[in-house]
């Protein structure tokens, strides 16, 4: 399916989409620097390069639509409207973090925004999203669920079982394959038995579409059609977005397994944000205003996070059970 160039998308949506994509990029670039500087605890997986996927899809979703994310979840969170200040505090493990500092980068969730959590277990979000989609179907209000997965992770049994379950239960659930070409360091052709995930979807009786994931407009248009189909009771769908990972699997990954020039080429020639800026029709002044806002927001989020107190030690025991 080819969808390129400017569309009839409203100015407000375009501006909001750019703001979210730019926020993700700036947030991730900053984390990359701060991780190198040694001020971010734990380990983290950056979403930079794939912004047009999360934002192209989540632009169609409301807070009542739910998403299940992956270990590479910051982009999905920001695209779904999770508070950036609280996210940064969470990644630094501080008070005021969206999960009180108890989850960290791999477990950011905001149920009030329909964000069911990043996930440290590959493929584990798919069964959860089936349940969310079942709840949507039973409520009958046209809400839908979306589960994201990478080209490696969607080979997990949990995802394949979930594709079958979603089909037999006719769930309003979209499986998004973010195909960035690598499962950690292993190239896609060595992890996946088919070259197109559309073949997988066909095997489970669900329609599928493949798009250039670097083209916001292609993602936005395809996702819009598929989500509308789900809202009307059409059952599950799959959307494969061919995209690119700017940074390593995790921070500290040297990426020497990638062909010479591949990473440089990604930044210079395959940048979804630059492509959006060139084709969106938004004026340079509008884009620059967003850039300045976002830079300030991310800077402030880091300053606030580093100033925020660590969790009180009695927090250790809280939140295991509703009651015990």
């Amino acid at each position: 399916m080819q969808h390129t160039g400017k569309t009839d998308i409203s100015h407000d949506i375009l501006l909001s989409a750019y703001r979210r994509m730019k926020t993700i990029r700036t947030f991730e670039n900053r984390l990359h620097e701060d991780f190198k500087a040694g001020i971010v605890p734990g380990f983290t997986h950056l979403y930079a390069g794939q912004e047009s996927v999360a934002v192209g899809i989540c632009s169609h979703l409301t807070d009542q639509d739910q998403i299940a994310s992956t270990h590479r979840g910051h982009g999905h969170c920001i695209a779904k409207g999770v508070d950036v200040m609280a996210m940064m505090k969470e990644i630094h493990g501080r008070q005021g973090g969206i999960c009180k500092g108890k989850g960290g980068s791999m477990h950011i969730a905001d149920l009030s925004k329909g964000m069911l959590g990043a996930n440290g277990i590959l493929g584990a979000g798919a069964p959860l999203a089936c349940g969310a989609a079942l709840a949507d179907r039973l409520e009958g209000k046209g809400h839908v669920a979306v589960v994201f997965g990478g080209d490696g992770g969607v080979n997990e049994g949990a995802v394949l079982e979930s594709m079958n379950l979603a089909s037999v239960w006719k769930l309003p659930l979209m499986f998004v394959v973010e195909n960035n070409g690598y499962a950690q360091s292993t190239p896609q052709h060595r992890t996946t038995s088919v070259s197109s995930y559309e073949d997988r979807a066909r095997g489970f009786g669900m329609p599928a579409v493949t798009v250039d994931g670097l083209d916001f407009f292609a993602v936005y248009r395809a996702a819009g059609e598929l989500i509308a189909r789900m809202r009307a009771g059409g059952g599950p769908v799959l959307l494969e977005c061919r995209t690119v990972r700017f940074y390593g699997h995790f921070e500290g990954d040297t990426q020497r397994y990638r062909p010479a020039g591949d990473v440089k080429n990604a930044w210079e020639e395959r940048d979804c944000l630059r492509r959006f800026a060139q084709t969106s029709g938004l004026s340079p002044a509008e884009l620059e205003a967003v850039d300045r806002d976002v830079e300030q927001l991310v800077n402030a989020s880091v300053q606030e996070a580093l100033k925020a107190p660590h969790p009180a030690l009695n927090e250790l025991h809280d939140g295991v059970y509703v009651s015990y």
Binding site: A109, L111, G131
Partner: protein, 334 residues
């Protein structure tokens, strides 16, 4: 009104009454109804051993037959519960938990904590435990301790029809995930059960028999064996407290300690393998917390460290029974 019903019927009644009370409550499982759309009669099974029979007929599409893919439908139960629909999901045998373990270990158990205390997951996973029906190595295990180990899960294992009904209702009304272990060997045993709905709070052990010489602490299918042992011991002049833990997480250790402070002797029994089971846990806690009350070294009764054998003769030798409990009591009284 109180009638005598089987443990299996008591669970069915609890599910039925809660389905009637809460119109959002769902039931998932394999063959939960059985044979829906197969062309013949529907609702012929009610799960593999018939616990949910009749519920599809009464509650229709809220009783959902899932494909035999435990990972997907248990995970979907977690997701639906998180999204406001409480679910009772059946994993037929606890032995099958390996297939869906991630969804319980890493998802259901941890979400509330990882998400800063915001998530509620009103989920019950019903599953059958224990040996005694020639189910062999993959349909007979007593893996309760594995789940007890995990923060965020509650673990229940009733021994009587009365407790099974009250604990199931409590489990359904709980706002977090509960692993409800049903001793299939006791499914057909009968006992008095009140017809009106009632809930038994978690973390309250039941003193099933009162004595003063020794405390026998156990749960689930070992309770009737402990009571049988206690009856026989009484004939030799030894009077035992028999404590039925009822819930393994939370654990009512206070009732155990109080009993041991009275008797000075502890026999802890679990049908599970002998390492890191409920008996070892009870002995450790008692030894640490009331060492000076002990008149003799605590004794443990467990199955051997082997898979459950198929041969009926070997299986009988595998399952710890009243005889092993009596032998342990004899050792500790010596």
């Amino acid at each position: 009104m109180t009638r005598h019903v089987s443990l299996k019927s008591a669970i069915n009644e609890a599910l039925d009454q809660e389905m009637a009370r809460d119109p959002k409550l769902l039931i998932f499982g394999q063959d939960t109804a059985g044979g829906v759309d197969a062309g013949g009669e529907t609702d012929t099974w009610g799960g593999v051993l018939g616990v949910t029979r009749g519920l599809y007929t009464r509650y229709g599409d809220r009783v959902i037959d899932a494909p035999p893919t435990e990972m997907a439908y248990v995970g979907a139960a977690v997701g639906a519960a998180l999204s406001g629909f409480p679910v009772v999901a059946e994993v037929p045998f606890i032995d099958f938990m390996g297939v869906c373990f991630d969804q319980l270990l890493n998802q259901a158990a941890k979400m509330r904590y990882m998400f800063g205390g915001t998530a509620e997951i009103p989920l019950v996973v019903r599953t059958m435990v224990g040996a005694g029906i020639n189910g062999a190595a993959q349909h007979s295990q007593m893996l309760t301790a594995m789940f007890t180990h995990i923060p965020g899960l509650k673990v229940v294992c009733p021994s009587t029809p009365h407790d099974a009904k009250g604990l199931m209702i409590e489990a359904i009304r709980d706002r977090g995930p509960v692993i409800f272990c049903e001793p299939k060997y006791l499914y057909e045993t009968t006992g008095p059960v009140a017809e009106a709905p009632y809930a038994i709070p978690f973390g309250q052990a039941h003193l099933a028999r009162e004595g003063h010489d020794v405390s026998i602490v156990t749960y689930g299918p070992m309770v009737p064996r402990a009571l049988e042992a206690a009856t026989q011991l009484a004939e030799t002049g030894i009077e035992a407290d028999v404590i039925d833990l009822r819930t393994l997480s939370p654990l009512d250790i206070a009732t155990v300690l109080k009993s041991v402070q009275k008797t000075g002797r502890l026999v802890a029994a679990d049908e599970a393998h002998p390492r890191c089971n409920m008996a070892t846990d009870i002995v450790a806690q008692v030894t640490r917390q009331c060492f000076t009350s002990l008149k003799a070294a605590p004794q443990m009764v467990s199955a051997p460290h082997t898979p459950v054998p198929f041969s009926p003769v070997l299986e009988k030798a595998y399952i710890p029974g009243a005889e092993q409990i009596m032998a342990a009591v004899t050792r500790i009284m010596a």
